[in-house]
Each structure stands twice: as C-alpha cells, then as structure tokens.
C-alpha cells in the first residue's frame, strides 16, 4: 500500500514499455522507422506519416524548457504542493513532454533553461519522469 494520493497514469499495452522503462529509470520515446520522426505521447504508429513501423528508442533525457507555469490553484491531490510548477520540455529528440522541474526554486525557472530527466519513484509500481536543471558540461 502507498499513501500517494495524486493521480497516477492508467497504463495500457500501447504505453506499458514507456512506464516499464521509467521504472528502470530510462526515458523511452517512439521513433518511426519509415520517416525517422520521433513522437510523443507514444502510439503504435507514427502520427506524422501513419506508418505502423515504429520502434522504442532511449531518449537522451536532455532538453530545454519550452514554457512553464507556477500553479497557485491546485489540481486534485496537489493541494499541499501549491505553488508548484508545470513545464513543457522540448527534448533533444524533437518531442515535447509535460512534466515538472525539481531541485530549482520556482522563481528561477526560465524558458530555454537546459534540463535533464530525473526519475521519481512515486509508488512501488509507478515512476514519473521529472526534470532538473541540467548539470553544466565538464
């Protein structure tokens, strides 16, 4: 049992590899073998060219903030977190994902900020990919 009260994803066959990978702390995205494009959220086909020849590829986990908002009114289950941030991250692979940035004060969030994926094991069954400010290259 878990005391995690926030909404959890309903995982089905089409997306199970994504969520299984997240549990292993890997970020997967779909790539079309026909046209080469990545897409998100994962589907069994390419929403650009409609080929059903798609593969799972491991994403770099790096990207940049495309936009963000700091929510002062909570979604159900998030009341204790207010104010919390929501971000849209453009991954280096060219797909956009919604997530949240951890390890960064809300006031320091900026569009264009480089971020990298981190994995939050919110329950024994579910891991949510989140992001943190990217470490500077050494």
């Amino acid at each position: 049992m878990t005391d995690y009260k926030k909404p959890l994803p309903y995982v089905h066959a089409e997306t199970k590899p994504y969520w299984d990978a997240a549990k292993r702390h890997e970020l997967l995205v779909r790539r079309c073998r026909a046209c080469g494009r990545h897409h998100f959220y994962p589907r069994d086909f390419c929403p650009s060219c409609f080929s059903f020849d798609v593969e799972w590829v491991r994403a770099s986990g790096r990207g940049a903030i495309y936009s963000f908002t700091v929510c002062h009114r909570a979604a159900q289950g998030f009341e204790a977190d207010v104010p919390y941030n929501l971000v849209l991250v453009d991954l280096d692979e060219g797909v956009r994902v919604m997530s949240t940035v951890v390890g960064c004060p809300n006031d320091d969030l900026k569009i264009g900020m480089p971020v990298e994926v981190v994995f939050d094991d919110v329950t024994p069954e579910v891991t949510l990919p989140k992001f943190r400010p990217a470490a500077l290259p050494e």
Binding site: K6, S67, Q76
Partner: protein
C-alpha cells in the same frame, strides 16, 4: 469554397436567465432561451427541423431534443468545447444550403455556478483514464484550463515581449463594455492596476485575466436567407465560416503562440471574400486575456507577436478603434463554460442595431470566433447585414 456564403441567416437569438439561477436546471434554461429565440424570429417550435446542441453529458443532444419535444430530421452534436456553436453555424449553413433542413436551432446551457455552490461541479477535464492527457499530463498536477492557457501566455511573453500590463488592457476594455450592458455580471470600474493586483492563479495569469463562472444558456435560429427575409427581424447573413482543431492536450499544441484561429479565420475570410479591415465589430472568445490576444493575431487583425502593442491604449474598448467583446465578454458579462453561443447572440444584435448604450455605430459586419479546449479548436463566423 464560397458555395454557402450568404445562403443562410441568423433569424432569431435569445438567452435564458443568466448569472446565478439556482432554481433552474440547464434544461429549463435551454427551453427558456429557445422560446425567446423563436419569439425573436417570429417562428414556432414546429418550424425547427435541424437540431444542433453541445454539452458535457452522455448523449446530451438527444436528451435536450426530447426535453424540448423536437424530433429533428437533421441533427449535429459536434463538441469541440467552447467553439461548438461556431462549428454548428457552419454545419447548419451547409445543411440548409444542401436542402437537408430548413430551420436550425442551435442551443445550449449550463449551470456551472449553481453546480459549484451545490458542490456537484462536473470535473470536465478529468475524463476516462484511457485519455492521453490523463496519462501524460494529469499526474504532474496539470488541470484545464487555467494552467494550460498560462503556459501559452508565458511562451508569448517570452517570444514576443508581451507584458502582463498589455494582457490586463484586454480585461479592462471588457469591463468598460460590461458597464454598458445591463445584463453583465461585473460592471464596476476595473483598472490595469486592479488586474495586476488580483490574486495569482497560474503564472502569469491572475484572477482578472480569467473569465467568470456563471449559469446561463442561449439559442440561435438559422434559416435560409430567403426565408429569413420574411421573418420578424432583419436577417443577419452568414458571410463566411471556418473551423479547425489541432490537438487536445496542451502538450500536443504545435506552437503555443499560434491558435487554430489562424486556420479557421483564413477559411472564413476566404469564403466571405473579406479581410480583417472589412470587420466593424469583433466578438472573440475570452476565456482568458491571452485567448483574445492570440485570436487578434491569428485572425490577422495585427501581425503575429504584435498583439500586446495592438491592445494598448484601450483599443478594444468602447471608444477604441477596434470594438471587441461588446457584451463585456466572458471576462465581465458571464461565462457558462462554453461562451461561443453568446458571441453569436451579441454579434447578431450589434448588426441589427439593438444594443443601446453599447451599440457600435454603423456596424455592418461582425466576426465571431469561438475557442475550445486548451486553445485546441477554433470556429470563425463572419456575419453581415448585406
């Protein structure tokens, strides 16, 4: 294209009791609005053979038709959110032009404020768990609509230097129009400073950047232009229509600074054979201040990125060069959840010259633009007196 331009007209409009109606169900409000629209047109219920409605309940359109005692031969419950009724105008105009029906009723109501107070608010966002948004957005605390429109506003500010004071100009102009509308919910003066001092909802949007929550409904009757000429009121011709949707969840929006009004607007202007400079009065969906700003750009009233500067100096207000949202809009008149029906009602009245203290002088052409979901769908309707 152009095959249905000027073939149909709005012959009647009406709204139900508005604001806070705790003693009435949404069905009662729909019946009230329909009765008033029929009376406005000088038609009877049995003249209606085309039925158009949209709502959130299961098989709502056939429920509403049953309640009203209407058994239509043409029926459409297209439901793209708040733009539904602009979509319905195009569909009804096409059906009437094709001879599939003669007189169409477009109707809708919600009791969102009463439901909220009764704590039976329908969470219209939280759908079935199979929905992609439930899987990839909701677990992060995303909800619709305030944070999703906030993401768009933040991006526009970053990309084009738009300021929160410029967004506030839109709310202030709406309030000035509302002060001239006896039916408007919020009529007290509002300043840019008031908007910027209102509680933060989701950065950068504050309370006064957001629409109201109200009860109410409306009805619009559309018939052939030929038949409309013999009815009670001056016909309001459908000159052009366009519709588009590009995504559902905000993560799927191709560019957060471009709404599908770009596509629907181009289609409507092409059908009408008109351009933005031909429009005398604008009725734009104002769920949020940013919604209006994006539509002004996407419909071609100013270049992309110039919306902030365009709305400065109260250009949208009663004395401004671009009269917009003359009822006071969703920001100050009322917002029942899907404001698109009220855009059509106000535009029809402006073109008939019935708007009293808020009448736009010599208004001959009006543009209505509905937006649904998270900037997801757009329906444009260009109306005119000739």
């Amino acid at each position: 294209m152009g095959g249905i331009t000027r073939k149909t007209a709005i012959a009647g409009v009406g709204e139900s009791d508005l604001g806070y109606t705790p003693d009435k169900t949404f069905l009662q409000l729909i019946a009230q609005a329909t009765d008033r629209a029929l009376d406005d047109a000088g038609l009877a219920k049995n003249d209606i053979d085309g039925f158009f409605s949209a709502g959130w309940l299961t098989m709502e359109s056939i429920m509403v038709a049953e309640y009203l005692g209407i058994r239509p031969s043409y029926s459409d419950s297209t439901m793209p959110g708040g733009s539904a009724f602009e979509f319905h105008v195009q569909h009804a105009a096409a059906a009437i032009s094709a001879g599939l029906c003669e007189t169409a009723l477009i109707c809708y109501a919600e009791t969102r404020l009463s439901d909220h107070k009764r704590r039976m608010a329908m969470n219209f966002v939280s759908g079935a768990p199979q929905e992609p948004e439930e899987q990839f957005e909701t677990p992060y605390g995303c909800w619709v609509p305030i944070p999703t429109y906030a993401l768009a506003a933040q991006r526009h500010m970053h990309q084009y230097g738009t300021t929160v004071a410029q967004l506030a100009e839109i709310a202030v102009a709406a309030r000035k129009w509302a002060a001239l509308n006896p039916l408007a919910s919020m009529r007290d003066p509002l300043s840019i400073e008031d908007v910027l001092a209102s509680p933060m909802m989701s950065t950068p949007l504050r309370l006064r950047d957001c629409c109201l929550v109200s009860d109410g409904g409306g009805a619009v009757i559309l018939t052939s232009a030929e038949r409309a000429r013999d009815l009670r009121k001056k016909p309001v011709l459908v000159l052009g229509c366009g519709e588009a949707h590009t995504h559902r969840g905000i993560s799927g929006m191709p560019d957060l600074t471009v709404s599908p009004a770009k596509l629907s607007g181009e289609r409507a202007f092409r059908m009408a054979g008109l351009s933005p400079s031909d429009i005398d009065v604008l009725e734009l969906y104002d769920s949020f201040t940013i919604t209006v700003l994006l539509q002004l750009e996407d419909l071609g009233f100013c270049p992309k990125g110039e919306g902030g500067r365009f709305v400065e100096g109260q250009r949208l207000a009663p004395d401004g060069a671009c009269p917009t949202n003359t009822s006071g809009g969703g920001l100050s008149y009322l917002h029942t959840g899907m404001f698109g029906i009220f855009l059509l009602i106000e535009a029809a009245r402006q073109l008939r010259g019935e708007c009293g203290g808020r009448q736009v002088a010599r208004a001959k052409r009006a543009l209505c633009n509905g937006i649904g979901g998270s900037l997801a769908s757009s329906g444009t309707v260009v109306l005119g007196t000739d």
